[in-house]
Symmetry: C2
Subunit: 173 residues, 2 copies
């Protein structure tokens, strides 16, 4: 118990947004990508509706294409990407939070694997949503929440200490 | 690396929604609640705006009061609760996903500590938001995303295997 707690907290506190990758031609094994995506499926979802789909990208041309999105040029050097999508027909009210929880499982798994990733927002920006939907042939009811480049970190990105005790309120504001 | 990966994945896949608690009068030490909340602060946030506040509840009367929320009667038997709130003035566009990622860190930490928790939705339900804001004296710009009862699990709740390979799409739909 203590060991798994220490390990979990270590990953949680070591996780950082990695925007600098070594070499986008270095392949991430398919089994590694499977491990990451399986962790995403273990997230909670409202009413257990599991309103998510995961698009895994490892084709260079598609990664480069996605790199033209705003704030997403790290895709030019990432080895892969995962796009977390919500099915609005399955859970109109909660797909966003459920997909965000699944995203956090992805980011933690990537960190523990010694890889790097960063959440780049697609939703709620209409033009980004349209671009991704068209590129990846997504059905109307499937909305991309984000694009997560995954790659081999150059080691230049470090975790931040963001703890602010004044944002913790005991038994009320 | 391998050990911390195994430990992380074990926690991720063991995490379950715990709705059945042993004894709501059994105290969770303040340091344990601090550990959980510190993990929440380590979540990513858009533009690093960190638009979150955490209300920690360990007063029996407040827990019982919150138990009157819809689908939240487990608060009558939980030892504590954490309410994850977003500051809409800090991040109108992204507070929901940032607070959801922080929530996932909370749920994983609770699991690794041998405690139990469950995400009960407040946002986007206006009547639940008003109730929590009034009870806890939240400022206008602070919106509660959820209430997370935390307690000593009775052991009756088990994790689900939710992996569905047909929801993983390689290089497009």
């Amino acid at each position: 118990m203590a060991d798994s707690l220490d390990a979990l907290l270590s990953v949680i506190h070591s996780r950082k947004s990695v925007r600098n990758f070594e070499d986008g031609n270095k392949v991430i094994p398919k089994e590694t990508l499977d491990t990451i995506v399986k962790a995403a499926f273990a997230a909670p979802s409202a009413v257990n509706w599991q309103p998510w789909h995961f698009i895994v990208i490892n084709e260079r041309a598609l990664l480069d294409n996605l790199g033209s999105l705003p704030y997403a040029k790290m895709l030019y050097k990432s080895s892969a990407a995962i796009i977390v999508c919500g099915d609005t027909q399955v859970s109109e009210l909660y797909w966003i939070v459920d997909c965000a929880a699944a995203t956090q499982n992805i980011l933690l798994s990537v960190e523990a694997l010694g890889l790097g990733a960063v959440w780049t927002a697609v939703y709620p920006h209409d033009e980004r949503i349209s671009f991704v939907k068209k590129l990846l042939h997504l059905p109307d009811n499937i909305i991309p929440l984000n694009v997560i480049p995954v790659g081999y970190p150059s080691g230049t990105n470090k975790p931040k200490d963001k703890y602010k005790p004044q944002k913790v309120h005991m038994n009320g504001w």
